[in-house]
Each structure stands twice: as structure tokens, then as C-alpha cells.
Symmetry: C3
Subunit: 350 residues, 3 copies
């Protein structure tokens, strides 16, 4: 959307929608959000972290969003609110509305006769919608998406281009799936027999709740027997792997490249760092934070932050130190022996 | 497939196919597999692990598959066999047969005139089959797949939707490729010259044996000069990266998000954990197990299990302990110095 | 391309293009590159590493490329040059020219009327080109690619099949994008409010310079407010994740499965190992090398090699040693206590 097409709002109109107190001219108009340091006059920026106070002083933004602590930190027209970052998110959503489905079904889309597609949904060019699949109101299906048979898409679902959904999966309302995401591929179920691996048919589904977002090239496997479940409000970044029969609790957010092994149960409101791993068949409590590059190998039953990343160093130092990792147990034994000897020496002294 | 369409089998019919001893009524009919704890009457469950004995007692399954040790652990009609998990896999395959190719070539598929497609293969909507490519008997090519030129697909190959195969790759019989898999992209071959990187054309192919399964969004690069080779019966989970000129030995299974660097040679019957890494140009013996999140930096010539994951802790403890990693070599030096001093002290004592 | 179609060149023709000194018959003809150990007579191989001298002795290649040190290491016709590996890359490029766009726009491609496509570009079957998008001279767009609205592709861009580019992204000249790559998906921008996460619209773009290569299934997210920038000559392997607002400096090469978190700034000429991670909001200097499986958690301001991988061991040894990781801080305390005691003992001795 070009600047000229974008609608501008006054601070008054914004506060009427999202609350907050206006300090300064309520008729100040903004048409886009911006970062403090690169803001232009018709934009609104925000201060969520005291570290950027200097940028607030220097900003060319037309208005800013600040917390109560930042109320008097600027002379600019401002909205004072409890959670400036979330407020900013909402204002940005207002100024950058997502595209509405307006084009109906493209003539090159292949929609099975048995599929039920809401009249106000949009099916993009070269998309495929399978047998008995249901596409809810105002859904927007991007070009090249392939949606299997017996799939249910709720209302206001947005599939960006080239998404794949296997047969039988259930997707809630207002779900966003980014390009290259694959929902419902077979879980990794194999049994070793004499002659080699035997495939175990994966007969569960993927069930995704409402308000879930799934990043580009993320994969969520269908369940082996029961379903894989992604609860409401879960946010998954790019290139995450969710194995069969995982359950991810509501409002948990997972950063890119994380891997969740089979049948792991993750609580609600967890925050899981990038490239971290959750072992199979374990349970993670609600409100757990896991640091990037950490593998969780057993269940966690208490909220808190958990970490297991190897500290990096200049390679030469790393070589020296890492070599000792392989002697740690010996080192501990030798230390214990020394302690004993010294104690006996001290006894003999006294 | 809905329950009503699904065929039911008696235990007698099952044992006639797959062997095992029936204890209880051989006319017991089952139409689906189930987990012990959620089983319904017309299903068959299995016990492969003594830990679930309690679930066996309580199960509502109509029949169960047990090992010889579990022969008398239940009164339910049962099949007693040597390997209940593999037996279960086979029964599930019987009850959940994969879809057969019945639709021929979809009118929107783009099949080059020079391609040779078996009459009983199915090419899905909007799939592309390149020049001189051969598609074997009973292949099932999903919607949106792009198969390049000079590709060979064996018989009974299943490509789920949106798979990409580059020119010249060879795929064996009964291979399954899941959505988003990319077979034969260029390996990462670049040479630094004065002006920047020079690309090295990747002129090898990917050659995949029989009975291989490749997970969603997994990538297998073509060889730089020689081929990248995936031997028979290899099972690759999702989002695995196989670099150029890798060879993966027969019946090796690799869990999701693992990365195999260029020219690594992996043995047969290995089991490689999720998010693990194999360095380039190394060799892994047969029957090696590698734990999740472990990087193997040099060749392994003996079977066994190898691990290198940093143990996770509450972040506060991790901080304290990880800080010492950077002093490990010093710590070891100081320990040695103490040992020497104490020894000399002891000598002077005596 | 089959052998019979491939053009052969004499060493003289090659040296006229790429320099170097010919030793032996300059009329020696080669039609393909090869590895020393599997070379055939009409091929040219190279020696870049003294370790392969033995292979050089035994090679059946028709000619070889050697460095000045290898000048007399063989009697074969040879090109002597400063950088045999880069020379080899160029010769291979000469012998294996990439396919030229010759087919124009396929009748099944969906190109918006407002798109501007160079007459000599090729748009493959079932590709989609959006509104106001520009496709430069000699571009080759593979089958199934989806290019959004307002995208700019420079000249000589090669998109392999099934690439996705979101609206508004800018791609330079001679860029190669491999299958499954997703350029410009939303960055992971969410703000926690009382009711759950609020999405932050991602209004920046992805801007990719000239001569960039992006591997299969790699994802580069659009910026939150400003752009994500990939500078000239950057080479990205497969399955890399580049988060919003990252900047990757010119001629940096990143191996597969690496993840770069939001707003990280990476210098020029860096080499970043596979499955490594760069934390958000940090800065990496030019000419930094990062080892595979290493996470960089704070800025690096000096060139050098940095490592942080946990050394692998046989699982039994790992268990013993890793258990001590959780006592490292205690261990260090106990060592210090011992040192103090011993010092006081020594004082009391003297």
C-alpha cells in the first residue's frame, strides 16, 4: 500500500479505539508507525525501554506512545498507556490493515466440487482445495496452496502462498500460515523389523486452535494415532518442527528453528528460544522460558528460565577449555582426593 | 477414510498374514489400531513396553498385540509375537492402506511430451513433469509438485504435494517424499577469489534407493561432481539438511532438523537424533547412535551411542556454571599445581 | 546436458579466458571437470591441497589445475595459477554453463497485467507474478514460483521452482534463489497484552543485493519497520533462517541450518558455520569465522574464529562428564579453598 493510499488517524481517534491518555494536541495526525531514530513527521513511534530515551529526545516522529514513566520525557504529542509495545502493535494494525479477500475464487484454482467455500473467501491462482474441505468466511488462500481432503479452515484464515495442508487437518479462526508451512505430514513413525524399518501409518490429525500464527517453512506433523494439538493463540516462528502428538499450550510463543519431539506437552504462556529442542514424551509447565540453543531433556514442572547453551570463545581458548570437558569427571575425582589428603595432612599437623 | 468405509479383519485373518499366535477368540474383528489408553472396542492396541502394563489392564481395546512376556498379562483376545511394535505397524498398514493412484494425469498437470509416465500412475493437479523424465508404475504425484528434466522415479513412488525434484535425480521404488522436500538443489560449492565468491557448478545428482522416506521440508543437495547417495531403506524426518556428496547407508534413520555436512559418509543402521550435526568429510561406522543436539566433529569407527549435548539448568545456575567453562583449562592447571605441591608437602612430612 | 552436447575447450582457450601458465600441451582438450580420483581422460581436475598429492600421481585426468607449489608435481598437461580452487570453479562454470532463458512466458503462468517482464525473461509453467512487479532481463523463473506484488527482480535472476517472494521485496542482479526459499514472510513480531499476543504488522521489506545465492528452504523475513538487508555477494546455504531487520554484510557465507535472530548485524566476508546461531541485536565484525553448532550471544568486534560446540563423547563418558557441568561453580570454589588451605599450610611449614 503506498503512502498516498494510507489512511491517517488523529491521536483522538486512536485513543478512542485503544484507550490511553493523550498529552499534547489530540488532532495530531499519523499515517504510519516508525522507529524513534528513523521516524518522519507523519509517523508515530514508541518508547518501551528506558534505554532509548536518548532516541526519544532526538526523534522526528509526529507523535509517540509512552508508558506512564515516560509521560514527561518528551514534549511531543503522545499517548500515555500501560503497555506501550502492545499499544504500538495495535496502532500499527490499524494503520496497516491486512489485505481483505475480495477476488473470490481465481479461475485457475482447482476446487473440488464437494468443497464448501464461503462466498466471501478468496482462493488464489493455482491453489488446490480438496474433497469435502470447508473454507470459512473471509478466508484468504494464497497462490499455489494445496489443501487436502476433509480439511476444515475456520473464518478469517490467511494462507500465504505455497502452504500445504494434508488431509483431515482442522484449522481454527484467524489463523495465519506462512509460505512453505506444511501442516499434517506424517509423523516419524517407524518400527524396526528384521528386514528394515516398517512404516507406521499416521492416522491422527493436526488440530490448530484460533489466533495461531505459523511461520514460513514450519512443519507440524499429524498424530500417530491421536492428534497433534496447537492451542489458541500459539505463535510459531519460521522453520520450527513440531513432531507427532505434541501439544502446545495456549499463547506459547516459539522462536525460529526450534524442534519439539514426539508427544512432548508444552504448557501455556511459555516462551521458547530459537534453535532450542524439547525431547520427546516430556512435559513443560506453564510460563516456562527456554533459552536459545538449549535442549530440554527432561520434564520441567516449575516456571522459570532454563538454559543450556555452551558459551562461545575465541577458537584457541575454546580448544583449551573444551579439551577439559572430557576430563571433568576425573578432575572432580582428583579434587576430592586432594581434599581428603589435605584434610588428613591438617589432622596430622594439629 | 471414514470408519464406515474401513474394512474390518479378524485376528485369524491378521495372523494368517503376519504370523504370531492367537490367544482368545480368533474371530474377534478389528477395524482400526489404537493406543491402549484411548482404545475403543473395535480397535486393536499393542504393548511393547512393560511400563504400560497398567494401561493394558484398563484398556477398552477389542484385542491387543503383545510380546511373549506379555502373553498372560491380559484376558483380551490377543496376538502373541516376537516384535509387537513392528507387528502393530504392519496391522496398521493393513487397516490404513495408503491411497492408490486412480485418477491418471490431471488435466491441469504440465507433463512434457518427452516424459514417460506409466499408464497407472497419477499426476495431480498443477504438477509439472519435465523433459525425458520417467514416472514408474503406480506412482502418485501430488498437486503442485515440480519434477525437473531427466528425472527417474521408480515404481510406487509417492510424492505428496509441493515437492520439488531438480533435473537428473534418480529415485528408487516405493520412495515417499513429503511436502516441501527439495531433492537435488545445488550443493554449497563456492570458491573465494579476489573479487568475492565464485560459484562451483554442482554437476552430480541425488540418487535415492528403494524404500526411502523423506520428511517435509527436508533438503538433499546434488553432488558437486559425484553423486549424493541415499541408500535403500533410509528414513529421514522433517527439515533435515543433507549436503552435497553425502552418502547415507542403508536403513539409517535420522530425526528432524539434523544436518549432514558435505561428503560425510554415514554407515548402515545408524540412528541419528534430532538437531544433531555431522561434520563434513567424516565417516560414521554402521550401527552408530547419535544423541539429539550433538555435533560429531570427527569420524566414529565403532558402534555405540555418542552424545555431546550441554545439560540444561535453571538459568541462574547455568550462568554460574557456564562462567567456569571459560576457566576450565586454568582450573585443570591449578589442580595439577596443587597436586604437585601437596605431593612435595607429603614428601617433606615423611 | 549430455556429454555429446558439451563443448570442449583446449587449455590454451581456457588460459586465454582465466589466465594462468600452461605447462605441457596447450592443445589438450577437456570437456568436463572431475575429482582427481575418479577423473576420466577428457576431464580436468585440480589440486588445491597438498594432502591429495598421491591422488594427483594416480589420476587419469587429461589435465590438471595446480598452484605454483604443485608446478612440478605431475607430468600431465596443467595450468599453474595462484588459486587453483577458484580457477577450477571458473573452468567448471565455462564447461557447465547455466541454462539460458529461452521459452518466454509459459501459457499457464499467471502474470498480472501491470507486471513488467523483460522480453527475454522466461516465466515457467504455473508461476505467478503479481501486480506492478518487475522482472529484469534474462530472468529465469521456475515452475510454481509465486512472486508477490510490487516486487523488483534485477537482471539475470534465477528462481528455481517453488520459490515464494512476498510483496514489495527487492532482488538484485544475478541472484539465485533455490526451491522452497521464502523471501519476505512476516518477521516474528508480537507483543504480549493481557488477552494474549498482539501481532505487529511487518512493514519493512527484504532487500537483496547483487550476486547473492539463497539455498533451498531458506527463509528471509521482511523487516518490522525498516528493511532486512542482504548485501552483495552473500551466499546462504539451505534451511537458514534470517529474521527481521538483520543485515548481512557483503560476501559473507553462511552454511546450512544457521539461524540469525532479529536485528543482528553481520559484517563483511564472515564465514558462519552450519547450525550456528547469532543472537538478536548483536553486531559481528568483518572477517569473523563462527564454527558450526556455536551460538554467538554477544557482539564480536575483532576478526578471528569463535567456537562454542560441546565436544561429543561415547554416551557413558558424556554422562559422567556432563554431570560435573552442573557442579563446575562448586568445583571452582572448592579448588580455591584448597589453594588457600595449602598456602596457609605451606606458610606454617616454613
Amino acid at each position: 500500500m503506498t503512502r498516498s493510499e494510507r489512511k491517517a488517524y488523529t491521536l483522538r481517534e486512536i485513543a478512542e479505539r485503544f484507550g490511553g491518555e493523550i498529552v499534547g494536541d489530540p488532532d495530531t495526525r499519523v499515517s504510519q508507525v516508525a522507529a524513534l531514530d528513523t521516524a518522519q513527521p507523519e509517523t508515530i513511534a514508541f518508547l518501551a525501554d528506558e534505554r532509548y530515551l536518548q532516541q526519544l529526545k532526538a526523534t522526528r516522529a509526529g507523535a509517540v506512545i509512552v508508558g506512564t514513566a515516560g509521560r514527561d520525557a518528551t514534549d511531543l504529542p503522545r499517548v500515555v498507556c500501560a503497555n506501550p509495545y502492545a499499544y504500538f502493535a495495535r496502532v500499527s494494525g490499524l494503520l496497516n490493515p491486512s489485505r481483505q479477500p475480495t477476488h473470490g475464487t481465481h479461475e485457475t484454482a482447482i476446487v473440488d466440487d464437494s468443497a464448501v467455500v464461503a462466498a466471501n473467501a478468496e482462493i488464489g491462482p493455482l491453489a488446490v482445495v480438496g474433497r469435502n474441505t470447508r473454507v470459512g468466511a473471509r478466508c484468504l488462500i494464497g497462490a499455489g496452496c494445496v489443501i487436502g481432503d476433509e480439511v476444515v479452515l475456520g473464518n478469517d484464515v490467511r494462507l500465504h502462498s505455497n502452504v500445504t495442508i494434508y488431509d483431515g487437518c482442522i484449522i481454527g479462526d484467524r489463523v495465519i500460515l506462512h509460505s512453505g508451512a506444511v501442516i499434517g505430514a506424517d509423523g516419524f513413525g517407524i518400527a524396526m523389523a528384521d528386514a528394515g524399518w516398517v512404516k507406521i501409518p499416521q492416522i491422527g490429525r493436526v488440530v490448530i486452535g484460533n489466533d495461531v500464527e505459523v511461520g514460513a517453512n514450519t512443519t507440524i506433523d499429524r498424530g500417530a494415532i491421536e492428534d497433534t494439538v496447537i492451542e489458541d493463540g500459539v505463535k510459531l516462528d519460521n522453520q520450527i518442527q513440531v513432531a507427532h502428538n505434541v501439544r502446545i499450550g495456549a499463547h506459547t510463543a516459539i522462536a525460529a528453528c526450534a524442534g519439539i519431539a514426539g508427544s512432548a506437552k508444552i504448557g501455556r504462556y511459555c516462551r521458547i528460544g530459537g534453535a532450542s529442542g524439547i525431547a520427546g514424551h516430556i512435559t513443560i509447565a506453564d510460563h516456562v522460558e527456554i533459552s536459545a540453543h538449549t535442549i530440554i531433556t527432561k520434564s520441567i514442572d516449575k516456571p522459570g528460565t532454563y538454559t543450556g547453551a555452551y558459551p562461545f570463545e575465541a577458537n584457541r581458548q575454546w580448544r583449551r577449555n573444551a579439551a577439559q570437558i572430557r576430563h571433568l569427571s576425573d578432575l572432580a575425582d582428583r579434587l576430592r582426593a586432594l581434599e581428603r589428603k589435605l584434610a588428613s595432612l591438617e589432622r596430622s599437623e594439629s
